[in-house]
């Protein structure tokens, strides 16, 4: 749930001794230090003096998977409230102070977690840490009904703008309940329902903060023009007095979703310009060897003009719009993550024909072995994508926060790229055989409504 547009570029030093074309030893050739404060806050620092900027990133281990029934959308709405002032920061001041320091800032919420981040010229590091500490430790006294009402309206407009007012905008909202059963933490979408948002009351949000926004439920990462000593001293100074919370309730366990053995299909007839099909499967949790295989598989299947979907549906049979075919995994770590493949029909092609074509290409991952050229192409694209994320201080900070939060050690970030590059064609066939079976498939089809 991006609040503001913006992608941040940054520097990227040489990786390893020779080339990334060869197998690199590490996907993270920068120093990493981790320090745990007495209150449980983990402080991760990665020094890089290339540019006079620092990225500050906080991962809170709370997302929409923690929301009980009737409170969907609360984690994300709460993220908005975190920008509206805290004990020593007046309403509207947070954004003004960061932008007035020359910084970029944003926050996102997804099913797994919530992250808050700013990149600022290096001399404003202390300001950024002060602001983050004040809203971690002092949000509740500043939270008012007026602020809640205003941001509830903003979020409802976000929902209209991103999901309701655009063709196919609600695909993700429809896919999740088809993929995950009621009660599963991924059953509902992060944006939540209008009814739940309308029912949100102030006390619930005060309790939400007290429950989850504790130092021992967060990772603070700083990457860029600073040192571990400086960051740890500042973290101690600003965050050190915030008390930990002894019991943080876990989200429901969603690691195992039994195969249904029954394909799920939904057809939506609505105001869309052409038929579109989504095929989705539950796969493996992000961070597991199985998901590394899935990541390469998704790239073989649906990234670029050399991918199977493009070659077969856009170029070969020419039943799909060239710019609108693709496949990707959604990197969720607390349950079997979804793989989604999609195509949109060329004029004159029916939704049924397109769905059959899409299913056939997905099925063939289990029967037609991936060639050496397909594998090399996918790995080259993934390597560039990896180094592109690592080329920015903010990209690196977010990755370190993720690996510290989800896997307990930020240094494990270095293992991901080598793991992708060691995936074999046989593993892809095995994964396809295991998790892409037609009997356990979700198919969502949009059909244009007949115009009078």
């Amino acid at each position: 749930m991006r609040r503001l547009a913006g992608a941040w570029p940054g520097p990227c030093p040489r990786a390893g001794s020779d080339s990334v074309g060869a197998m690199p030893d590490s996907g993270y050739p920068w120093p990493i230090s981790t320090t745990r404060l007495d209150n449980g806050l983990r402080v991760v620092v990665s020094e890089d003096r290339t540019a006079p900027a620092v990225a500050v990133n906080l991962w809170y281990d709370v997302g929409s998977r923690h929301e009980p029934s009737g409170q969907t959308g609360f984690a994300h709405l709460f993220e908005h409230l975190m920008f509206e002032g805290s004990l020593h920061v007046a309403k509207t001041e947070h954004m003004k102070l960061v932008q007035g320091a020359g910084g970029s800032l944003n926050a996102t919420t997804n099913p797994d977690r919530t992250n808050y981040f700013e990149t600022v010229p290096a001399e404003h590091l202390e300001l950024a840490l002060w602001l983050e500490a004040d809203r971690m430790g002092g949000l509740v006294p500043a939270l008012t009904q007026e602020t809640l009402d205003n941001q509830r309206d903003v979020v409802k407009n976000e929902r209209r703008q991103r999901y309701e007012n655009v063709p196919y905008g609600d695909a993700w909202l429809r896919l999740l309940p088809l993929l995950y059963p009621p009660g599963h933490p991924y059953h509902h979408a992060t944006i939540g329902s209008m009814a739940d948002l309308n029912a949100a009351d102030l006390a619930t949000f005060q309790a939400f903060h007290q429950t989850y926004y504790a130092p021992n439920n967060a990772v603070l990462t700083v990457v860029g023009d600073t040192t571990t000593e400086e960051v740890v001293a500042l973290a101690e100074k600003y965050f050190g007095a915030i008390p930990p919370r002894s019991e943080i309730p876990p989200a429901p366990d969603g690691r195992v979703v039994p195969a249904t053995g029954v394909p799920m299909a939904e057809t939506v007839v609505t105001d869309v310009p052409a038929p579109r099909v989504y095929v989705a499967h539950r796969t493996y949790p992000f961070g597991t060897p199985g998901y590394d295989v899935l990541t390469v598989l998704a790239t073989v299947l649906g990234s670029g003009r050399g991918s199977r979907l493009y070659q077969r549906l856009a170029d070969g049979e020419r039943i799909a719009q060239p710019d609108l075919v693709g496949a990707y995994g959604v990197d969720l770590a607390h349950g079997p993550a979804p793989l989604i493949a999609t195509a949109t029909a060329r004029p004159g092609v029916s939704g049924e024909r397109l769905a059959a074509g899409l299913a056939e290409v997905v099925d063939e991952l289990a029967t037609v072995p991936v060639t050496a050229a397909e594998l090399a192409r996918a790995k080259a694209l993934l390597a560039t994508a990896w180094w592109r994320q690592m080329s920015t201080v903010d990209g690196r900070a977010d990755a370190l926060g993720r690996y510290a939060t989800q896997f307990g050690d930020p240094a494990t970030v270095a293992e991901r790229l080598p793991a992708w590059l060691s995936v074999t064609a046989e593993q892809i066939t095995e994964a396809a055989t295991e998790v892409l079976v037609a009997d356990d498939r979700v198919t969502l089809t949009y059909q244009p409504e007949e115009k009078p």
């Binding site: 503001l4 570029p9 520097p11 990227c12 030093p13 040489r14 990786a15 074309g21 006079p52 020593h88 509207t92 954004m95 003004k96 932008q99 007035g100 320091a101 020359g102 910084g103 970029s104 010229p121 290096a122 404003h124 590091l125 202390e126 300001l127 500490a133 002092g138 205003n150 309206d153 903003v154 979020v155 407009n157 209209r160 703008q161 309701e164 007012n165 063709p167 023009d225 600003y238 007095a241 008390p243 310009p273 670029g304 003009r305 050399g306 070659q311 170029d315 719009q321 060239p322 609108l324 949109t344 060329r346 004029p347 192409r377 080259a380 560039t384 592109r388 080329s391 920015t392 201080v393």
Partner: protein, 450 residues
């Protein structure tokens, strides 16, 4: 618990520097490069004077179709072989165009840059352009635009542009064309446009570790077989302001939001007041903390976001505001937006607001201009607008030096609330009466818009 109450001040400022810029004339073309020592990724952009401004009136979208057709096979290999060859290097061929230029680029690990630029040049200079392929690409592009135009926004943008600049001018029509203009293109139009504009050498922009990059070899590949020189790029276009403010209503039945596109013409990019004009735009609508976003989102809750800014190309410019607001509050959102523009025009900016705007814009140079892709984009700006190597350093200084009087004067001179065109794309049956009642101007129903 004791949080620290006092806000810390800044530490010692670290020096800002833009990377060293190298300009060379090699193999009949120009190379502009930035040295990024230690960078593992590298970006190359071939920049051609073949932007949308070069398309003939009636052929809008020509450049977009040509860009896609470049990948449908070359003199050396077919489309599939080309895709596999370039993607095996870890990049796709990324194409883009704006009013002033056409760009084709690659982004790869640095040791693969030579091979990637060879493939880039192969597609740009020697595409097959088989007429049957071109017609298919054209149809796909027309469909892609039709899909895009099913979203709120593109129709409103086109209506605003036509009203500001006149639909009989190329710059009064959509930059990427519309579904109809693209469907009407001939394969031969595409071939002719290629031979006229894509064979000239142009400029190769490179951002990466130059110690590991052979610029001579890149230039030899990029400029091989090219001919022809620069062509006059035309002078700034005088665009008269509208005498009366008006509302143009574009019907989108059932829409749960109304899309707002407000604007009037403004100075072109080389105007001497460029910096104060852009800072006035930042205070009014260019940042999250700007006046418009504060009022319409943070105080009223009418929208997820609203932006306003001055945008300019070599020959023309415009001031524009865009947002999506809940249908029920369309009229008040419009009234308050126009009110905020008028207030800024009449009263100027405050020192507090300007302090945030100039620090933000200056700081963004250190924060944003770091990756090879971003640096290449900055070099492209130097080339397209004939700016000196130290432009970004000077820009930082002039942003920080701009004072309230200068920026308020720019707001007074270049904002024209009485001349705005107010395009509203939404459910006409629900909002029309409210719009009339605002008294902001005549309400004109856009013909054939549902």
């Amino acid at each position: 618990m004791s949080l620290i109450a006092d806000r810390p001040g800044p530490g010692a400022a670290r020096p800002y520097r833009f990377p060293q810029v190298l300009r060379r004339s090699i193999a009949g073309g120009q190379v502009v490069a930035a040295h990024l020592p230690g960078q593992n990724l590298a970006v190359a952009v071939l920049l051609l004077d073949a932007g949308a401004g070069r398309e003939p009136v009636g052929s809008e979208g020509l450049g977009g179709v040509l860009a896609k057709a470049l990948e449908e096979g070359t003199a050396q290999r077919d489309a599939t072989a080309y895709a596999l060859a370039i993607e095996a290097l870890g990049t796709e061929l990324v194409t883009g165009l704006d009013w002033d230029s056409f760009q084709a680029s690659v982004q790869v690990p640095v040791e693969r840059l030579g091979a990637a630029v060879e493939l880039l040049a192969e597609a740009v200079r020697t595409p097959k352009l088989d007429p049957e392929d071109v017609r298919r690409v054209r149809d796909d592009e027309a469909t892609a635009l039709r899909m895009d135009w099913a979203n709120p926004g593109p129709r409103a943008d086109a209506v605003l542009r036509a009203d500001l600049f006149g639909a009989d001018n190329r710059w009064g029509r959509p930059m990427y064309g519309d579904p109809g203009s693209v469907a009407g293109l001939d394969a031969e139009d595409v071939t002719v446009f290629h031979s006229e504009w894509f064979i000239r050498p142009g400029t190769l922009v490179v951002a990466g570790d130059l110690d590991r990059i052979d610029l001579d070899a890149l230039a030899a590949a990029a400029f091989a077989g090219t001919a022809g020189g620069p062509v006059d790029r035309g002078s700034a276009i005088e665009v008269p302001l509208r005498g009366d403010r008006r509302i143009i209503l574009v019907d989108r039945p059932g829409s749960v939001q109304s899309t707002l596109r407000l604007g009037h013409s403004a100075p072109h990019r080389a105007h001497p007041d460029h910096v104060p004009i852009s800072l006035a735009g930042t205070v009014l609508g260019g940042a999250f903390t700007s006046r418009l976003n504060h009022l319409i989102r943070e105080v009223r809750g009418y929208t997820y976001g609203i932006r306003g800014e001055f945008a300019s190309s070599r020959r023309f410019g415009r001031f524009g505001v865009s947002s999506g607001v809940q249908t029920a509050v369309t009229a008040p959102a419009l009234v308050e937006s126009v009110g905020e523009i008028a207030r800024t025009q009449a009263g100027g900016v405050t020192e507090d607001e300007l302090a945030v705007a100039r620090s933000w814009r200056a700081g963004q140079l250190s924060v944003e201009l770091q990756s090879p892709r971003a640096i290449a984009g900055a070099l492209t700006t130097l080339v397209v607008h004939d700016l000196p190597d130290d432009y970004h350093a000077r820009l930082r200084e002039s942003l920080l030096a701009a004072d309230v009087a200068q920026v308020s004067a720019a707001a007074a001179s270049y904002l024209h609330p009485e001349s705005l065109t107010l395009v509203v794309e939404g459910d006409a049956a629900v909002i029309r009466d409210d719009l009339v009642a605002t008294g902001l101007g005549d309400v004109i129903d856009h013909p054939g818009s549902s």
